[in-house]
Symmetry: C2
Subunit: 359 residues, 2 copies
């Protein structure tokens, strides 16, 4: 099914409204999900809507949260998300970071008691729109084993760094700190394909190419895949995300992070509240005039885009560029939904008494 | 040759004094180098002293820099290092970040017109000593090709994130954003050994195990090694370091970064001044009470240290732990110097009229 952006937006808002979200929150949560679908990151968009609803049904997501600052200095804050959708908690926190940056040059917010926040890039882009540099991270359900371990102790814990450019689109680094994102495994599972060595290990800690290995005690591997190729670096980055997002805010960390899937219960010995995020904004003109920065970033982009390449058909890709191309295409041609997702969404619509989605 | 920490410290200070550094700068620069040798990161300690002196002889390092803030807000600043040793410029900048954090919760400094700053961990630790979280990054001479390219456009651009713990040592993530650090290649070259596939490529962009391939147009690979294993993420991290350190400060970036080796001239079309760093500090108590944070970070460390492991003999390593063990050992038993380094240092001593180093 191919649906237009406006159709999918209206449908998604109705689902959030049916959950009991306020108009404002339904619009915002939809905006975060839709950007993911528009940018071609299908794993983080409306495909997750059913998952959010299931968590809400289990009272693990609060549709009417009282999100608030619980501690702050001029440039730092800790936010309690009151169990709300990360899709609304994270933008709330990023707005605080931006306001602090407007006054003092930079702002940093660590968030507890939240849930899955969609794509990190959405939050990073909020800063870019204000000529700031955006930082966005979140911890997530444990799926990744640290180097030398066969235990799932970390999420795919993404990091996003976002920079405003001049005549080119912003540079958006938005990446899981695991070798492969979980979404890529799910695609291989659906297609019945093997995955490359270096993405996952089985329960004993041996490389496996079976995308179902996580169901039998296997784990994702950190970026770098093995010690010799730097998996301790992927582990270190994932640890950094976990500490900034959760140890700093009072959220759950490591294996205590509550699972995203509703059929698995959260650990019964929590070390904090919900999951954690970390968001930051720095004014570019806190360092040098915005025009100067942008013109040099344009020059950086041009130099990398014109780099000599190994294969004449494959240019160097600037971080954020493929997502922007997808966005232009999908705004014009619509957003493709695989059958499984379209069917799921219409089941959901029926259950919540919302008008069905149609092409 | 095995030398005591105090002997090596006195020797190194004398070399910096002979270059014309002030007493204060000689002590500081030595402290940065010695911490690297003590922590077992032999590639970044006194082994580089000859390199610094050669750059000074070529007037590419200024021994008496007038380091100053050229732009600032309450929590951000741009520092001009006046061509000084990164070993003194970076601590100057980190002190500013810490002072700003003391007043406003956080502080961020981008640095231009500097040189190689030693190990990033030294600067991160400065913040940790004040119960702050430390960030330290630097760009470096181009050796790494972006994904899909066979051109050296980025340095090994390290990132450091440093966190104060309670009863355990601080967690120090300090890592090159390439698959392997250049120092590891140099070791393989000295020993006449091959390196693993995934560290470097030859001029045509094919994997090679020849550690000398960089001399014939080859390049290091980003963390992740190839596209399938996430090398675009290593490229994205390295790009982030380059932009925060240089595009933001007005230093040279990408292929314009001046080479560390004195026998290669800097590009004759610079896009900025010298190399760039990015340093930051955030007060832990800007988010939650220090004791709470430290006790949760201790819990985090304990959980990861006690993780189930693949091999009974190989525990999970907490970032920063091996370096601390090396430091305890070397403070007691002395610092081993390979013959090539000891001979280089004594050549240097002779040239500068400094007392020779002896075991």
């Amino acid at each position: 099914m191919i649906v237009s952006e406006s159709t999918l937006r209206a449908f998604t808002q109705n689902i959030f409204l049916a959950m009991g979200c306020s108009q404002e929150h339904a619009i915002l949560a939809t905006d975060v999900l839709l950007l993911s679908d528009l940018r071609g990151i299908d794993s983080h968009g409306v495909a997750r809507l059913t998952g959010y609803v299931r968590l809400w049904e289990k009272q693990r997501i609060n549709a009417t949260p009282d999100i608030k600052i619980v501690h702050e200095t001029p440039t730092t804050a800790t936010v309690d998300g009151d169990g709300g959708l990360g899709l609304v908690v994270a933008p709330f926190a990023m707005r605080i970071a931006i306001e602090k940056a407007e006054k003092y040059g930079s702002g940093w917010v660590s968030v507890r008691n939240s849930n899955h926040f969609g794509i990190a890039g959405y939050h990073g882009l909020m800063a870019v729109e204000k000529d700031m540099i955006g930082f966005a991270m979140t911890n997530a359900s444990p799926l990744v084993a640290p180097t030398f371990s066969n235990e799932r102790l970390l999420g795919t814990n993404p990091m996003c760094y976002a920079f405003p450019a001049g005549k080119y689109p912003p540079v958006i680094v938005d990446m899981a700190t695991s070798a492969a994102a979980n979404g890529k495994l799910e695609i291989a599972q659906r297609l019945g394909k093997q995955v490359p060595e270096g993405w996952i290990q089985d329960k004993q800690g041996n490389y496996t190419t079976d995308p179902h290995a996580l169901k039998t005690g296997g784990s994702l591997l950190p970026l770098g895949s093995d010690r010799e190729h730097g998996s301790h670096k992927g582990f270190g980055l994932s640890a950094t995300v976990d500490i900034l997002s959760a140890v700093l805010s009072g959220a759950n960390y490591g294996p205590w992070v509550p699972p995203f899937v509703a059929f698995l219960d959260p650990p019964n010995d929590p070390v904090g509240q919900g999951i954690g995020h970390f968001l930051g904004a720095m004014r570019v003109d806190g360092f040098r005039p915005v025009d100067e920065f942008k013109s040099h970033l344009d020059n950086w982009i041009e130099r990398f885009k014109s780099a000599s390449t190994i294969d004449a058909d494959q240019k160097v890709i600037i971080p954020g560029e493929p997502e922007l191309e997808a966005q232009a295409d999908r705004l014009t041609n619509g957003i493709p939904l695989v059958d499984a997702v379209a069917n799921d969404l219409n089941e959901l619509a029926k259950k919540l008494g919302v008008e069905a989605l149609s092409a």
